[in-house]
Symmetry: C2
Subunit: 352 residues, 2 copies
């Protein structure tokens, strides 16, 4: 392992950034000056930023640096796609603690570069500094969208239908799994036992969803190919409940979604049962799914429902009717959706 | 004092960002969606990012939060001006430790907003999160420049003259002063004495340069008004030596600057004497001045020398002649400029 002090700050930056050509025609100047220079004469620009802190957003005990780099980038790309944009440039700031090695940074950048190459994104700048304590990562992603075509959170209409991509709750179950295994591992070591490496056979999907999420470019492209423009869109980072409330609040609508329609993978369901958790709670509040939640006009119902990996989960309604989750089966109970959880809702007159 | 947990993350973000109108016509959508939306159809875009870590870049014992916010913004604006750009939008990510209060965040944002309002910049996004340890701040600034008019580090010619704005070394002397007073204060408290508040009378300029630097928009505007386009430019954040070497390396030139021409304020000189430091060393290596270092063609000498607060400090030369500092007086010694300090240079044949 190589100490970072052997290279120095400039040496490390050179090692991490040199010899990588930019690929986007909009990148006029990349790393190596006071600023990057970009050119977007014919489209709008979308910008998003995220900060990830060690101990809050990631645990280096079970997060490989390469995965951390990959995920950090994907989280930002996901925000760009959620605006109907395409990611093009990324700036990467990273503060590293005393325990960090050059090889750890190489791995982090390998993950970043893999994510960037898959989505055609240039790394155009950043900052590398030291931290007295844990690691901090801050990324800003810049993308573009045809002029006026950005999809915001506030465009949903009362009659729109609500769609979700992929499936929900798996990353949260992956997190629970990792936390449990970490506890077992640490306890075994404290007791002086040889700690066994955890076996995730049959739960690979959950671990992958936690450590290596994929931003849903495919969904945005599929919608564009079908000529369907969502009226509102958001990515699911904090959980379906929270994101639904964002769309409803900003669009001044209520919503009505159906528990039985929420897409859940069988590994998620099996793990929820094992942990004695309500799987719908996990899907509604788990977070970190990085799926897309969007609304389309009712007239697009059949076309959007036919799209691969897109699921219609409910519909918008008048704001006064509130945000409601309808339980499974006949004579189902209704629940009011809250940001973290949901409560029994009073049955509304029109919806028996 | 109000605990941040009383407001929650969303409550804090609302408090810090609500009710602030955007002023830039290029800002199509600000805070409150997955991304900000910007429009720059008729110019190039410049992007810069900086990360500031508690204990590395700032010490909360003597850095008021309002100053920290102000400086964080200015440091980024400075990079934009150093490209010949104008700052327009800012994203603000901040990770806050357990000791942080709502009032501290209010003060930080008050400083940010003051800097932004002075430079006409919109805050268009960001991320607010918690930190297990110290505070971390990451800002990204977006600006614009007429298409093709960005001034890079690599455009200097061998015959260009070298200019510096303002004066150098004051922020470094301010830092030394603050560190000394902090030590005295802490020692007095450890000894159970009532610690006296330090008196900075006669050194106000040094303290202000450290805590409240000003990005040099005025210089960039003055150059534009005079119709002088620098061939290369950089802002002085790491010290004159380091920045000169960046320009020379990237432009494939050497340089020759004159010690007697380096602009130094009398408070800086007086403090250097008090601390028994070589004032030129402080100016060359001190850093955090946020002045502009730039080159212009020799033909512009008289016009640039006539500009208010611009100082001609030397000239570029052939790369083979190296980077040289010429000492004061007749028969002056010559020194090779190195990134941190400089050594005796072998006298070159042509320069006796």
């Amino acid at each position: 392992m190589t100490e970072i002090s052997e290279l120095g700050e400039f040496g490390l930056i050179r090692r991490l950034t040199e010899g990588h050509e930019t690929v986007q025609s909009s990148t006029r100047l990349g790393v190596g000056d006071d600023c990057a220079v970009l050119s977007y004469p014919d489209s709008d620009i979308v910008v998003t930023t995220d900060m990830l802190m060690e101990g809050i957003h990631f645990d280096l005990q079970y997060t490989p640096m390469k995965h951390l780099g990959y995920k950090s980038a994907m989280v930002n790309f996901s925000d760009i796609y959620a605006m109907n944009g395409r990611p093009r440039q990324l700036t990467v700031s990273i503060a590293i603690g005393r325990r960090a090695t050059v090889e750890m940074m190489d791995d982090f950048y390998a993950g970043l570069r893999l994510a960037c190459s898959r989505h055609g994104v240039d790394i155009v700048g950043g900052d590398t500094t030291s931290s007295l304590t844990g690691m901090a990562v801050s990324l800003t992603c810049i993308g573009n969208v045809a002029t006026g075509e950005a999809v915001r959170r506030d465009g949903a209409k009362e009659t729109d239908i609500i769609c979700v991509s992929g499936d929900l709750g798996a990353a949260y179950m992956g997190l629970r799994l990792m936390e449990r295994e970490k506890e077992i591992f640490n306890r075994q070591r404290e007791e002086g036992m040889e700690a066994a490496q955890p076996d995730f056979a049959g739960r690979e999907y959950l671990v992958e969803r936690l450590l290596k999420p994929e931003a849903r470019r495919d969904i945005v492209e599929r919608l564009a190919e079908a000529g369907i423009r969502p009226t509102s869109m958001i990515d699911i980072s904090d959980g379906l409940s929270s994101e639904l409330l964002h769309l409803c609040t900003q669009s001044h609508t209520g919503c009505r979604i159906y528990e039985e329609r929420i897409p859940i993978d069988y590994q998620t369901a099996a793990a929820a049962e094992e942990f004695n958790l309500n799987v719908t709670t996990c899907a509604m509040n788990g977070g970190e799914d990085y799926e897309l939640l969007f609304t389309v006009p009712l007239s697009e119902h059949d076309r959007v429902a036919a799209l691969d990996d897109v699921h219609v989960v409910g519909h918008m309604q008048r704001e006064a009717l509130g945000c409601v989750l309808v339980g499974r089966g006949d004579g189902a109970e209704e629940f009011e959706i809250k940001a973290q959880g949901w409560n029994h809702a009073e049955k509304s007159g029109t919806e028996a």
